[in-house]
Symmetry: C2
Subunit: 104 residues, 2 copies
DNA sequence: CGATAATATATCAAATATGATATAAAAAAG
DNA sequence: CTTTTTTATATCATATTTGATATATTATCG
């Protein structure tokens, strides 16, 4: 992994490093992170074609900055908020399940 | 409820529906709750054949009471903890995604 | 270009989720 | 039935997640 991407991930609160550091993550921890990133990406893709971050924020009684953090994979955003946001874009449980199923 | 009784009640001005209607939940709120319950059930099923609640708690650095709450669909348990617990029972992201996809 | 809209980053108090602990209740074993 | 194990419920201090706000940065458009 190049150091710029690493710096970005660490700035977002993730514990990502080189191969040795990476071993400190259990497979389960890695799977959770990958699921969250998959949901983030899916959210950004869906939302962009439908509405602004501010509009989505209103739909889920949240704020534009939090939607931005959700789409950027910030570690302070819960999986539940990611799912709530996905649903607010019209995503079905099937689509959400598919994203999780194919994330790792 | 049989439809005759419902018709009688509605004729009297009552709005009869299911639990979601009664609680005035949006479709999205309902979906989230159903997802959580599906994960709870899946967790309980998987865990029971493999280990005790106390053993699972240790695996996810949690406590037996919290695992009990997770399996009983307590609202104070996050979707993330449910997923972490599922993974600790050996469930794959595919299986977890499948549970979510088919929940609603 | 300059203006306007959209998105990203930082901070914060309040709400929610957390593991731990004690212990009650229920189930299983003997 | 009695003991032992397992699961459920209650409480609590701590940690995390939250929406709100201010504002910086970036994209869009005229």
């Amino acid at each position: 992994m190049d150091s710029k991407k690493q710096q970005r991930l660490e700035a977002q609160g993730w514990k990502i490093g080189d191969a040795a550091d990476f071993l400190e993550l259990t497979p389960e921890e890695t799977m959770i992170i990958v699921m969250r990133l998959a949901l983030s990406r899916g959210l950004k893709e869906r939302r962009k074609s439908l509405m602004t971050q501010a509009e989505l924020a209103t739909k889920i009684s949240s704020s534009q900055p939090r939607v931005a953090m959700a789409e950027n994979g910030d570690s302070s955003v819960s999986i539940e908020l990611l799912i709530r946001a996905m649903l607010a874009t019209g995503a079905s449980p099937q689509e959400i399940g598919q994203i999780i199923a194919t994330s790792a």
